[in-house]
Symmetry: C2
Subunit: 385 residues, 2 copies
């Protein structure tokens, strides 16, 4: 019986397949699956090299127990028959799938750079990305997370965009599955803090406040707001939120804010021209001395438009941007802007996650990191007059 078993091991699978030698007439790049319909396995390599299949496993992962000469022979055999490992089997046995789950609400421009960043850092650390969109449907999000668990992802990055009570349940789901997770990009109000999950968030209020204080310190007293609060959908909600916070900050700081100085565009990308024209039609004496555009793409469009209309930045008017993504185009005037500190917050998120995945013990007291904003002074803001 023992010999029969050994025989089976050498044959690989029980099907009466011809020994590999017979394929020596084939081209050097063996069409592993396409012809036979069966993927080549470690057993095929073992047969080809004349060793036990476990030796192949050890050799291919450069285990010191295998002599160099033997290893090279095995590697040659593997290459010859076009073998590559089956990660499913490897993961099932070894535990690590090397997959990170990424749960986003939608593929907005806002997440483009973060997503690339997850890939860049993840790839360097040997991870692959599994991406899922929820479209703000919490049930879809939960199901996606469930799939992440079933697929044994090793970590999850998660940007739900808005607070919802279901976040707590989802976080618990992940926690029970032993999967470290990083919640990305929420504002850190009290509700958010109760979600039991590591968090990297943005403090919109303090960023906007920083911007206003910067303009105040330059001597501006009549500051206008430009935002795309007229946009539809969730994106518009975010601009609405910024507008609301800005209004609160104006009153906190004792600044007046005329309705005429609250410019609401319907589109953050192409809305700049509307605002520029509104401004241009007014008598110069009735201009604010600075505009705080609560989104960089709007600020860039505004800069281009003002420039095209012959309005000088910052000579005639100062322009301050605000952004939470990464820097992009400069436009006609290098834009002074409120920016997240220490580069990209997406990088911090993926770095944190990879750290959590490495040490198997997920620190129970969840880190809640608020990425502070900073002013990047370029050329679009100056003192008035």
């Amino acid at each position: 019986m023992a010999s029969e078993k050994k025989e089976a091991r050498l044959r690989g699978r029980p099907s009466g397949k011809r020994p590999a030698r017979s394929s020596s007439a084939a081209s050097s790049t063996a069409p592993a699956v396409a012809s036979t319909g069966k993927r080549t396995t470690i057993m095929d390599v073992a047969r080809e090299a004349g060793v036990d299949f476990s030796t192949v496993s050890l050799a291919l992962r450069k285990d010191p127990r295998i002599r160099t000469e033997t290893r090279e022979r095995i590697e040659a055999a593997a290459k010859k028959i076009g073998y590559y490992p089956n990660r499913l089997a490897r993961s099932l046995s070894g535990g690590a799938t090397r997959v990170i789950g990424v749960m986003l609400t939608e593929m907005s421009r806002f997440f483009a750079t973060p997503l690339e960043e997850f890939q860049r850092v993840g790839e360097a650390a040997g991870y692959t990305l599994s991406v899922h969109f929820s479209w703000w449907d919490m049930e879809r999000e939960r199901k996606g997370m469930q799939q992440f668990c079933e697929n044994c992802v090793e970590g999850v990055i998660w940007a739900p965009d808005v607070f919802d009570t279901s976040l707590r349940e989802t976080a618990t789901l992940l926690h029970n599955a032993g999967i470290p997770a990083v919640l990305l990009g929420l504002i850190h109000d009290d509700d958010t803090r109760t979600v039991p999950c590591h968090q990297i968030g943005i403090d919109i209020r303090s960023g906007l406040r920083l911007g206003l204080e910067h303009l105040l310190s330059l001597g501006h007293r009549r500051i206008a707001i430009a935002t795309a609060a007229g946009m539809e959908g969730k994106r518009g909600d975010m601009f609405q939120l910024r507008l609301r916070i800005l209004r609160e900050l104006f009153s906190e700081l004792g600044l007046p804010l005329a309705d005429a100085d609250t410019f609401l565009a319907t589109d953050h990308e192409h809305g700049g021209i509307e605002i520029a024209m509104q401004l241009a039609r007014r008598p110069r004496a009735d201009w604010p001395t600075a505009i705080f555009a609560a989104e960089d793409s709007l600020a860039r469009g505004l800069a281009k438009s003002l420039h095209a209309l012959g309005i000088n930045i910052p000579g005639d008017i100062s322009l301050l941007g605000y952004h939470v993504g990464s820097d992009e185009l400069m436009g006609p005037v290098p834009l002074t802007t409120v920016s997240l500190e220490s580069g990209n917050f997406a990088t911090r998120a993926i770095d944190l996650l990879i750290g959590l995945m490495r040490k198997k013990t997920p620190a129970i007291p969840h880190q809640i990191i608020t990425v502070p904003s900073t002013i990047i002074e370029r050329e679009s803001c100056a003192s008035p007059g």
Copy 2:
């Protein structure tokens, strides 16, 4: 010996774990992994329900061989101890991973809608997305595809953006692995056609030609071009290409094209204002009667800018857009545009791929589908004068 084996089966794993009953004091949502560090398996459910683990396997997939009563008992037990299946094991045994690999060059705005579309259609068909970016690095692309193979994805969608000889090798790699693939969005010149892979592509030339012919048929004889050929990077290359083709088409159609009527912006999103201002500064007699903006985002910005400057579309000038993605915002004037036929070409790609994955035999003669363009007539184009 047999009884010993049975004992092992019932115990599940060899570690001297306490029977599940002892956890009955725990909360209803059992913290499966978080406490023990071990995931609950089908064996745990079996022990809880007092049946064999294979019975659990059958019951959870509603096999008719299992009595309803037993099944319900098993389902209750599974729920109680927080069991969910391990797809790794399921895939290893059953073959289907239900994962689609998506290989993109970068997370540009261009791919946002397609990516969401892959998720939407894929999710409906029970698939999950594994996303990888190559950043035009063909070696990185090859490695990513290799990983897709190792991870046993069931299909690949692939948008390399530019033709490269390595595409042939990569296609062969996938073919040898028996993984159906759809190559997305290349122009179908002769080089592209030699890549042994199903393809869904865009015929830029015929789309642009259609646009020009539409303007001609409306009576326009002096047509301007607007494109963001001044942009940097790969995106700029694409606009350069459109510009080159447009120039060729002008000469083929015997149309004059003055340099003054070739508007080159440096930014497709905020470039509209520059062009609008250039136009506004000219005497009215020196205007073209129509502008063909070779990218919808540029066209929208241009529409907004012209509108803001008091220039009437299409009364004063007609504006024709061009796009290969999905429709977005309308702007001040609903834009007449050259669009891909039958909706979204991304949908066609994912539909094709899912079809290929279903029938295991990948049709050897590769389909090369060129998605034709069509004119969507809205309100921004009219006859001149």
